[in-house]
């Protein structure tokens, strides 16, 4: 039997359908942690980079990527981890940033202050804590609608 090699563009599309386990509205591609997809001979090599070094989602993300590749019939693949250049919120896709805001999480802004409340869009916001429900978020509150919200930390 002659196996057909996966097309790199298709693989990117498949991975763009793998949700982040903690923020399921965005994909692992939106998050910027899939750094490279390439064929080495007949082996598909997917390179990923961790967001925060202790992020417990990293191992789940690896598993979800493996599962997605298998579901698309890829048998010969390898996942590689790359630390440098270190992950930065600049790698979040525009689509990902939009989806975050729709979901109620303020997307990262240079300078570390969210542009506005993701619900009522007021710019009157204050930081409650540098840390939030996951390693990648901090806690803020809107001073107009008073709703607390998460901000995707800028790193």
């Amino acid at each position: 039997m002659v196996a057909t090699l996966p097309r790199v563009a298709d693989v990117w599309e498949w991975l763009d359908a793998v949700p982040d386990p903690e923020i399921p509205v965005i994909s692992v591609v939106d998050l910027g942690i899939v750094r490279d997809v390439a064929l080495e001979g007949e082996t598909l090599v997917v390179t990923i980079t961790p967001t925060y070094s202790g992020c417990p989602a990293t191992s789940i993300i690896r598993l979800d990527i493996e599962t997605a590749l298998r579901e698309h019939g890829v048998r010969d693949f390898r996942l590689e981890q790359r630390l440098s250049p270190a992950w930065t919120t600049d790698w979040l896709s525009q689509k990902g940033r939009r989806k975050l805001e729709d979901y109620g999480i303020a997307p990262p802004q240079p300078g570390g202050t969210p542009a506005h409340c993701p619900r009522c869009k007021s710019a009157h916001v204050k930081r409650i804590s540098q840390f939030g429900s996951t390693p990648c978020k901090s806690q803020w509150q809107c001073e107009d609608c008073l709703e607390p919200f998460d901000h995707f930390k800028c790193i």
């Binding site: 961790p50 070094s53 202790g54 992020c55 939030g132």
Partner: protein, 250 residues
Amino acid sequence: MSALFEFLLRQGDNALVLGHRVSEWCGHAPVLEEDIALANTALDLIGQTQMWLGLAGEVEGKGRSADDLAFLRDVWDFRNLLLVERPNGDFGHTMMRQFLFDAFNLVHLTELANSTDDRIAAIAEKAGKEAAYHLERSRNTVVALGDGTEESHARMQAALDALWPYVGEIFENDSVSDELAADGIAPEPASLRAAWDARVQEALAEATLRHPEGDFAHRGGKTGVMHTEHLGHLLTQMQWLQRAYPGATW
């Protein structure tokens, strides 16, 4: 034991032991936000541990994983600074210890990002971002509590005075650091003191805290020669599962 392996154990054990100490606050911090912040800080440190000890195991070449090194060594094998094995004390004491360590960690990692060893440079680049974030919080907390109420000020001064004798060890050179500095792998600890002093003095002044005098230094942590009794107690908690059920995985 090679100098490189020894150095990587120092890096990994600092992150591991401090990460464990900070995790002891989980569910006990004075307010919910601080509880979450402490847990996240601990998580970052444990993540950094995996990178450092993972590389240590690779360099050693005996097939030991980061988990093996974390859970199957005894007190005398650990190479962390005495500072990080100190008990938590009150919240202010924990934050003062964190500040003193974060300031060192950031200054050190910034230099390590230029290491001639690419693997070390990559870990340092990653961990340095987290250390900068930790330092922002620990510094601001030290300032807020130092320049806070009479009670909080007194507690922060007491914490600083109690922890100061553990500062000297951080910056001591020895044969391990000499060898790595000669190869451009890691800076001499003594060379980091000025940058650390600048950061710490600036924050202590804003916190209205008195800079301790005297340079007496407890030592023996990073060489493994003499840890305090506290490390053994910490390991009984951290390692009990692997000790009770050797080889258990999930």
